[in-house]
């Protein structure tokens, strides 16, 4: 993949044109390969469900006891029932609002603080020690504090989500800013650009690949923590509903909750990755990895 870029660097212009044409010429084979990959992905999911169905209907007891686990068919029936109720959508919406609020706050604060501590030694000395002490504490362990400090459960859950996503985003941003080549900054400064120009035209776009790595990880941890927090405190949300189903020993409903969490989390992470790839199209071909976690 990196060969065309290499030729383009050495050659005088014509090779670059050729490589661009080659990109469109292989477009058709690429979509065919893409379809095949999607087929493989779907087959993989279907295989897992099939094994699950077989284990539960055969009442398998192979060390693990599958005889009491609901089968996919039972879960699907329960899902069908829940899809007809208002409460299912309310729970989804509630969890989504919580995670989006917490994650958005974490993204803004994490990127801002990451840039600040990487660009200013003074800010780093002042702000990093407390941050580094709080960082190893799992966000879910902050639940007692959140209950104590925040007037409503709602704010507490958003805070837990925020705390979970904040650290990976902040740390990735900090590393991305430190790893930024000074050449681009020098170039903008010799054009007469000041701090704001450097920040806006070099630091923010240049660190995007690394920042998106942090956003991806942050989104994953945020899901874990929003669900856990909902299980502990809260009156709505997918996590609360799942835990509630468990307390009344309604296992099909527990599995519907788990599947909903899985699908929502996957969609959220995929959205972040898609957005990241869109915004880092400028990266040299070989460097564009999933999640844009490069440099």
């Amino acid at each position: 993949m990196s060969t065309p870029a290499l030729e383009a660097t050495i050659g005088s212009g014509a090779p670059a044109v050729e490589s661009a044409d080659a990109g469109t010429a292989t477009g058709r084979t690429r979509t065919a390969a893409g379809l095949r990959r999607w087929a493989v992905r779907l087959a993989s999911l279907a295989a897992v469900v099939a094994v699950w169905q077989w284990l539960t209907t055969a009442d398998a007891r192979v060390g693990l006891r599958f005889d009491r686990l609901p089968s996919p068919a039972e879960v699907a029936a329960e899902l069908g029932r829940q899809l007809g109720t208002r409460i299912y959508y309310l729970d989804l919406a509630q969890s989504l609002i919580r995670i989006l609020t917490g994650f958005a706050l974490a993204a803004v604060a994490g990127i801002a603080l990451g840039v600040l501590v990487a660009r200013s030694r003074w800010a780093g000395d002042v702000l990093l020690p407390p941050v580094e002490v709080v960082r190893p504490i799992p966000a879910i362990a902050l639940v007692p504090i959140a209950i104590l400090v925040f007037p409503t459960d709602e704010q507490g859950i958003v805070f837990i989500t925020f705390a979970a996503a904040f650290f990976p985003i902040m740390v990735s941003t900090r590393h991305a800013v430190r790893a930024l080549p000074t050449l681009w900054e020098d170039a903008v400064r010799t054009m007469g650009g000041g701090r704001a120009h450097v920040l806006w035209n070099v630091v923010l776009p240049g660190t995007l690949p690394g920042v998106f790595g942090g956003l991806s990880v942050g989104m994953g941890v945020a899901w874990i923590c929003v669900i856990s927090a909902e299980m502990i405190s809260g009156e709505f949300g997918v996590g609360y509903r799942t835990w509630h189903a468990y307390t009344v020993v309604d296992y099909p409903a527990v599995l519907v909750g788990m599947a909903s969490i899985g699908v929502l989390g996957w969609v959220a992470s995929a959205s972040i990755e898609l957005l990241g790839r869109r915004l880092t199209r400028w990266l040299p071909r070989g460097d564009r990895g999933a999640g844009g976690n490069v440099r």
Partner: protein, 265 residues
């Protein structure tokens, strides 16, 4: 050239640069010491030297990216304390912002200066055409060859109408053929500008092709104790300054001058 001098407004004239007893280095390690050099407005001064001789360091000091340990860098008699759009820089490679298209890269110095959108677009487009890249405006740097990227850098540095252009081995990473084309383009573009040019290279032939004067930063420049005396003259800390007769005129035999430079290196 004299006709355009009369017509051009004062601000567009080349910048006079003066180095007074400048010592340069990174951290506590000194690369160059007690450097004195006068660069006349509008001249093309080429600094040649082997790698590690500190020639890029001199350029960074003139650009205002590196503060001297001792001495002063003066631009038009005013001490240089930081970078300025008056002194544009062309780097060796990969200094284009990779997330900006060709057009938006060339527009950037104008944007920083606060030029209105339509005006900066027209100016950028005309510079892109000037360096032979019309039609490539919406491409990203990664889609361009090394030579094309350097053309964009040239356009970007000149679009800001600087009074001095500092070029740090701009063609150093290019193959011989592309490099010759870029040198022709540069000569062509320089004919229309009054800007002072300070050009750093390790290629003696490139120096002789472009320069009004050639400064040789040899081993001597780094060891001021070794050759104190006649050689240094007014240019302390620098090996030799050589004037190129009939500069930028093709088909002149410069073997004598070439031999002298190589001897100094």
């Amino acid at each position: 050239m004299s006709a355009s001098v009369a017509a051009a407004p004062q601000v567009d004239a080349g910048l006079a640069v003066r180095l007074e007893g400048v010592s340069l280095g990174y951290g506590r390690h000194a690369v160059l010491e007690d450097l004195c050099l006068d660069i006349a407005p509008g001249e093309v001064l080429v600094i040649v030297g082997p790698s590690g001789s500190g020639k890029s360091t001199v350029l960074r000091a003139i650009a205002g990216l590196l503060a001297p340990h001792a001495g002063r860098v003066l631009a038009e008699g005013v001490p240089v304390t930081g970078p300025s759009p008056d002194r544009a820089m062309v780097f060796q490679d990969d200094a284009l912002l990779p997330w900006r298209t060709v057009l938006r890269n060339v527009e950037l110095p104008l944007r920083i200066r606060g030029v209105p959108k339509r005006e900066r677009r027209t100016a950028a487009e005309s510079w892109i055409a000037r360096v032979g890249l019309a039609g490539w405006e919406d491409r990203l740097p990664r889609e361009l060859s090394g030579g094309m990227r350097q053309r964009v850098q040239l356009a970007r540095s000149l679009a800001g109408a600087p009074r001095a252009v500092l070029m740090d081995e701009p063609f150093g990473a290019l193959d011989a053929q592309t490099r010759a084309g870029m040198q022709r383009l540069l000569l062509d573009v320089l004919r229309d500008t009054l800007a002072t040019v300070v050009f750093v290279t390790h290629d003696v032939d490139e120096a002789l092709l472009l320069a009004d004067r050639v400064v040789v930063l040899g081993q001597r420049g780094r060891q001021p104790g070794g050759q104190r005396g006649g050689q240094r003259g007014e240019h302390g800390g620098i090996g030799t300054v050589l004037r190129v007769p009939d500069p930028r005129t093709p088909d002149i035999d410069r073997t004598g001058l070439r031999a002298r430079i190589i001897e100094e290196l």
